[in-house]
Amino acid sequence: MADNIQTYYDHPQLKPAPFSWIVALYVYLAGLSGSSQMVATIADLFGGGRLRSLVRRGRYLSLVGTVIGPVLLIMDLHTPQRFYNMLRIFKATSPMSIGSYILSVFSVFSALTGGAQFIFDRAIRGPWRWIARIAQVPAAGAGGGMSVYTASLLASTSTPLWAASPGWMAVRFGSSSVASAGAALALGERWSGGRGYGRKLDALAVAALSVELYAAHLSQRDYQTKGVWGDREAAVWDSIDALGGYLPLALYTAGFFLGRRGRTLSEAASLATLVGGLAMRLAMQYAGQASASDPRTSLRFAQPENLPRAQS
Amino acid sequence: MKTAEGTVLLVQESRMKVQLDSGASQLFIISHKSPAEPQELQHLQKAQAKVRITYEEGDRGMYAVARRIMEI
C-alpha cells in the first residue's frame, strides 16, 4: 500500500457529491417506510389475521416515504422544476435512475394500499380490504428495493468511502431499515396500548441490528485494506456503532429480562434504533463527502491493488 | 436586485455576455429560478438583441446571476 502518496499541493482530486442533509434524510425515510411496508405485508399474509393493528400501522408508516420521499428528492435537485426528466429514460448503470422507478412503483402501490386501508378503517363498504391486500404485494417488493437501492446509489460513485465496500454497505442499509421499521412499529404497538406483538417486533429489530453491526465490522475491514480509514473515520464509526447498535441491543436485552417492567427500556431501545439509523445515514453521507475532498484518501484508494481482480 | 440594459454579444449554455450601455461588458449566468430557459437565449444572440436584465451579484465566481431578461 502506497502510504507516502504525493498530492498536488493537497488540492482535492475528486469533487464531493453536491448533496445536502436532505439526501441522508431521504435515504433514512426510504428505508424506514420501505421496510415497514414489507413487514406489514408479511404480517398480513402470514399472521393469520391476528396482526391487523400492526398491518394497519405499517401501511400508514410506509406512506411517510410515499409522501415525503419524492418531495425531499425534488428539493435536492438544483433545477427542481425539471424533476420529471428523471422518468425520461431508464438506465441500468445508474442507481439514481433505477431508484426513481423503484420510488415510483413504491409510491403508487403503497399509496393505494394505505388509501384503501384508510377507507376500510372508516367502515365504508367496498372491496377496500382486498385492494389493499393485492396492492401491498408490489408495494412490499418495491419497499425492499427502497431499503437498499440507496446504498447502491452511494456505492456506484468514485467517492472513496462509498465505493470501498459496496456489498456490505447495502447489507448495512437494508438491516438498518428493517431495524428501524421494527422499532417504529413496536413503539406504535406499545404507545397505542396494544399488548400483543411488541416482543416479536423487538426480536426482528434485534436480529437486524446484529446483522447491521456485523456488516459494519466487515465493511470497516474493507475500508482498512483499501486505505480509506483514518483516526477520524474510526472515531465516527465507533460512535455510530455504539449509538445505533450496541446501545439499543443492550436496552433490548435488559428490557427482555425485566419482562413487563422492562417496557420503558424496550421503548428506549426502539428510540435509540430509530435515532441510530438516521445518524448512520448522515455519517455515511458526510464522511463520504469528506473522503472525496481529501486527496490523500482518494489517490490512495485509486491504486492498482484496489482494482476488481478481473479488471486490473 | 439590480437592473441593467445592454446588447447581447454571446450566448453559451446558460451564460450570456452583454455589452452594457455603460460601456462595460458583463457576464451573466441565468439563474435556475429564472423563467427563461437557456435554450431560449439563442435568438437573442442571433439578433444581437437589446435587453433589460434584473440580476444579483454572484458570490461564487466572477459573474452576475440574471433573474429576469426582457427584450427591449
Binding site: L51, S94, S156, T157, A163, L299 | L10, H32, E37
Partner: protein, 302 residues
Amino acid sequence: MQIHPRAREYPDSQFSRPIRDESELTAGVKIEPGKSYGFFTDTTRCIGCKACEVACKEWNALPADSVGLTGMSYDNTGGLSASTWRHVAFIEKIGHGGGRATEMAPYQSNWLMMSDVCKHCHNAPCLEACPTGALFKTEFDTVVVQQDVCNGCGYCVPACPFGVIDVNLDDGKAHKCTLCYDRLKGGFEPACAKSCPTDSIQFGELAELHRRAAERVQELHRLGVESAYLYGTPGAPGATGGLEYLNAFFLLTDAPEVYNLPRAPTRASNRVMPSLLSGLATMAGFAVAAVALFAGASRNGR
C-alpha cells in the same frame, strides 16, 4: 511542419467569413461525424502559458472562479470546475527533497506543467450515472451535457473518477468541457488545442493521436527521458477498472498522483449490481425471518 495545400487558398490575413473545414488547416484533420476524436496532451511540451485556459474561457463565455492567489506555485486556478474546463497544473520540482539541484534532466525538469481537461472517457462514469440522459455521447465520440435536459441532480459529480464535472449552484446545471462540440460541428479545432503555441495539446482522430503519442514516447526515451509514459491509452494507468481508454489522454513524466491524477480509477457502474444484489438478498433474508416470526405468532394463538 508542412503547409496544408488548402492553406494557399487563404493568403489573406483577415477573413470575412469562417474557413470551411478550418481544422484541416490548423490541426491537419477533417472533422466528420461518426469518427472518434480526442486530445493528446503532451506535458513535456507544455510551457505553462495558460493560453488554453484563456481560449476556453473566451470561447465558452466562462467566468473566472476567483481573482485571488492560491499561494501555491504559479497555479492560481486550482483545478477544474463547472466554469474552468482547462486547468494548467504547475509542479515545482527543483529543490525537491531538500537539496539544491546541481544538474537537470532534459524537458521540463524543474517545473512540470500539465493542461488538465475532462478525459472524455470511453465508458464515461458521469454519463452512466446520469439519470436524465442529459449526458450523452456525441457523434464525435465525446461526452457532453445537454443543458436543456440536465436537472441538476448532481449525481454525475461523485461519479467522475477524475473530479472533473461539477454543478453550478446558480444556474443549477452540470457543466464540463464539451470538447468544443459547437466548434466541431462547424469544422473548427477546439479552442484550447488551436491556441496552444507549442502543440502540447493536440486535437485529432483518436487512432492517429495514439500513433503519434507512442512515437513521442519512444522519441523521448531515445533522448534520455526514460520516465515518459502515456496515461489514459488502452492498458495504461488511468484507463483501468473498466474505463478502457480516455479520449483525452496524456503523456506524463512523473507519477500520476503528482499531477493530481488517479493511478487506477474505476468505472463506478461496476458496483451497481454487487451492491444492489447484496442489498436485495439481505432483504429477502429478513423477509423469510419475518415470515417465520409472524407465522409463529398465529400458531401460538398470541
